[in-house]
Symmetry: C2
Subunit: 493 residues, 2 copies
């Protein structure tokens, strides 16, 4: 593909995050937004290779927990979509397939907005005895479809990348334990691999997944201070089991509705966080393990030094082979562009480490190493190159992690009064911790008021699994009632 | 999931292949056909784990050739679908999304029947200079949609698993070399890994992919003697480049239409071949590397020997851990069913090796090993178990390969006259080699005649890359013209 990124990113991230994000998505070859149907994007190779890594990590984690992969159709029957009363609220958003060839179909079907309504009717056929549970299943590398009005690559689409687990248990205790395991999956993949910090919240009653008893989500902060929900895991209780008739014969020889959980790590949302949180004015910044190419080798040659050029190219190829054998994803970029253009290109794409080979380096049996995060040249003896790469890859990851954590911490504040809260949200955005009356239905009116008073901030929830408590006697930040909770408030995507 | 397979397969494969196939698909947990929308099946965990393996092998092979992964939307614009005149023939088969929520959409879109019409408009934006070519891209783990009238799991569906590469070259020579590489991919994955023998044909002019200059396909034979097309690779020439305006500036500073190839290994068709060709009266038979579980350990315990039971269970768990550490996918099946039920279950599912641990075995520090293909008990000292597993896995693969090749060879015959051909097809089915007039358009009338005379046999094509020639002076098996080719004829799915 042409390197049409020569001009690089033309805005500063902290001056215009929205435009910066759009430019990075396009110029770093993450997505092509010119497909011509709103909300449907092309995942370009560089972007999709990153997404594939995220999928691979998730598949590995859930399989370790005993999840088995399966694949359900894209289609959902209209009747199935409406079986769970609350869940049926998805209907206004769904796309309908109504014709085949030139003929109207006798029975139309929907494109899945999420898996429950297509998976649970089959679950009702699969399980008969408590002996067969727990059952844990997952679908990976699938897409779902929702007719969103406002769309944005990796944040909101009419088609977006999806991953979902659907687990079935005999007891509620097992279901709750699974929710903790889902949190572990988020820690392992989103936090440890992608270096994205987050809080794990229990959502308030009025902001649960439709049909669930409770919803838990890891939320991070984007550079514009808005909350980005990275995943969600739901305690479905026996609600869906009742709607879809999923029952097993218990030890007591009686039929029981099963307990269910489902977990959906947001592939797109994680990608958006990766782009937004780690990126800088030069473009994308990728953790070492996540990058499609981890090390780029750039030859620095001069037309008037053909002998040196020959040596440099030979050495570059050798180094590429050596590092490939050592298990790295490495590219010797011997293309026709100038070194400067190549530096910009690979920095824009977030490539973690760059090795430069020029006449001076070759003479000294060395190369220059540049970390994407620091962008300073360090001379490295070729004899030490593998050891140095290992070291600098670790340093790069720590750089990325530290920067992200600092931003996350610095933008989590507290407020005791509504005036305080409004001021903090206006000046800084980010998360604001505040006392709140109730997470049950009776707390919703305060949430409505909050949204009005703050131009859209929402109650993210209480921390999970360790809730922080409000001080004794503290009042809700929005009403006169006693605060039962300390909640986190933020503007949101 | 319940072991609802206790009765096993109730028909003989060679007496009623069609019913046998249906039973294996369902009883070996490959697919659930009760989804309720015709032609849309649920890929159950056991089946999907096999399919994931096939996908993994293919991804690895095409990436070694320099293919980059990407992901295009499921949607195709109506105008794009009709750009390539011949290719537009897909239209009668496509599903149309026409409403969102309760509203008719302003512009409907199709569910992709294959990738060309959605990928090539974007390719026309991606490439500008000959320097950027060759470009090789692929999509994996996607589905495509065609409104087929008759559907059958893994053979023909309205939704089916898809994999496609789309390559762009400066010259036709490079395109032809890619087609040979596609053949290599088929050899590596379908032949070497899945143990499915095939002929590689060049299709006649009247049976090409719509819009292609030439189509090449590996075809195998199913147990009912019908041809199963396992993949196809197409030389698109510059046809699609012209239809979708894909041009690059050449070294001569002029614009040139690019040469394209696309390759689609049939995930479903390979799965159908795997089931049909290797299976036996007990059910599925899987090559060692392809099986989700490679080794099952079954404890044989007796209620009146509790001490022995304790030893057996402990040993079974140890053996499971040991073999997992050695890199095998292994399961110690300590469930409540009887050993006999377990044997049937795992044989039905095609599990390559079974180890049995009973009181006698434990006393002798041994286990019994049973290969799925031979089903005879062999005593193996526990000290030698890893060495023996390696040996028997190889033997099992050879058993499978040999049986498949023998069937394939035995059912490839020759005929010189139409009477001969008809008799052979009636008595044996399979491939019949015969002299034929022309592979160009002027040969199509003989093909029509052939279909009528033989109740549906078709000309598969000529062998590729080494075509066998008809003898001098030989006439076409259907007309009076001189035979230019030796073609392969078969009934087909």
């Amino acid at each position: 593909m042409p390197k049409d990124d020569t001009k690089g990113i033309t805005v500063k991230k902290d001056q215009n995050f929205s435009e910066w994000y759009t430019q990075v998505v396009q110029k770093a070859d993450l997505a092509d937004i010119r497909f011509g149907i709103q909300g449907f994007i092309v995942h370009k190779p560089w972007g999709f290779m990153i997404i594939k890594k995220i999928y691979d990590y998730l598949e590995k984690e859930v399989e370790l927990q005993g999840h088995l992969p399966y694949l359900f159709p894209i289609a959902v029957k209209e009747a199935d979509l409406k079986k769970e009363k609350e869940h049926a609220e998805f209907s206004p958003e769904v796309f309908w397939v109504e014709s085949a060839g030139s003929k109207k179909m006798e029975e139309r079907f929907a494109l899945r907005p999420t898996g429950e309504a297509q998976i649970y009717p089959i679950y009702s056929l699969w399980f008969r005895s408590h002996n067969e549970l727990p059952f844990k299943g997952y679908q990976s590398r699938i897409n779902v479809y929702r007719n969103e009005m406002v769309t944005r690559p990796f944040l909101r689409g009419r088609e977006f990348c999806f991953f979902e687990t659907h687990d079935v248990f005999n007891t509620h205790e097992e279901a709750l334990a699974q929710i903790k395991d889902d949190l572990k999956t988020c820690e392992t993949v989103i936090q440890n691999k992608l270096k994205i910090p987050f809080f794990y919240f229990k959502r308030p009653e009025w902001d649960k997944f439709k049909g669930a008893d409770a919803t838990y989500t890891p939320d991070t902060l984007m550079p514009d201070g808005k909350r980005n929900q990275l995943a969600s895991t739901h305690d479905l209780g026996t609600n869906f089991a009742k709607a879809y008739d999923i029952q097993v014969l218990g030890k007591d020889e009686k039929k029981h509705h099963v307990y269910q959980t489902c977990f959906g790590p947001g592939i797109w949302r994680s990608m958006a966080a990766l782009i937004g949180i780690h990126g800088d004015d030069q473009g994308l910044v990728l953790p070492f393990d996540v990058s499609p190419i981890q090390i780029v080798i750039v030859p620095v040659t001069f037309a008037d030094k053909p002998q040196a050029t020959e040596k440099i190219v030979k050495l570059g190829q050798q180094l590429e082979t050596q590092l490939q054998k050592a298990g790295y994803r490495v590219k010797f970029d011997n293309g026709p562009d100038s070194p400067g253009t190549k530096y910009n290109h690979w920095e824009l794409h977030g490539t973690p480490l760059r090795l430069e080979l020029g006449p001076k380096e070759v003479e000294q049996n060395a190369c220059s190493l540049v970390r994407r995060t620091e962008r300073k040249r360090i001379s490295v003896a070729l004899a030490d190159v593998e050891k140095e790469i290992k070291k600098h890859a670790e340093t790069l990851d720590k750089d990325i992690e530290k920067k992200a954590e600092t931003y996350f911490k610095d933008n989590t504040r507290s407020a005791d009064t509504l005036t305080d809260l409004k001021k903090t949200l206006q000046q800084h955005r980010g998360f604001v911790k505040a006392p709140y009356c109730s997470m049950q239905k009776d707390g919703e009116s305060c949430s409505d008021k909050l949204q009005k008073e703050t131009e859209g901030a929402v109650v993210c929830g209480t921390l999970y699994p360790k809730e922080e408590k409000a001080k004794a006697g503290q009042k809700c930040i929005l009403c006169d009632k006693t605060a039962q909770h300390l909640v986190y408030i933020a503007k949101t995507y």
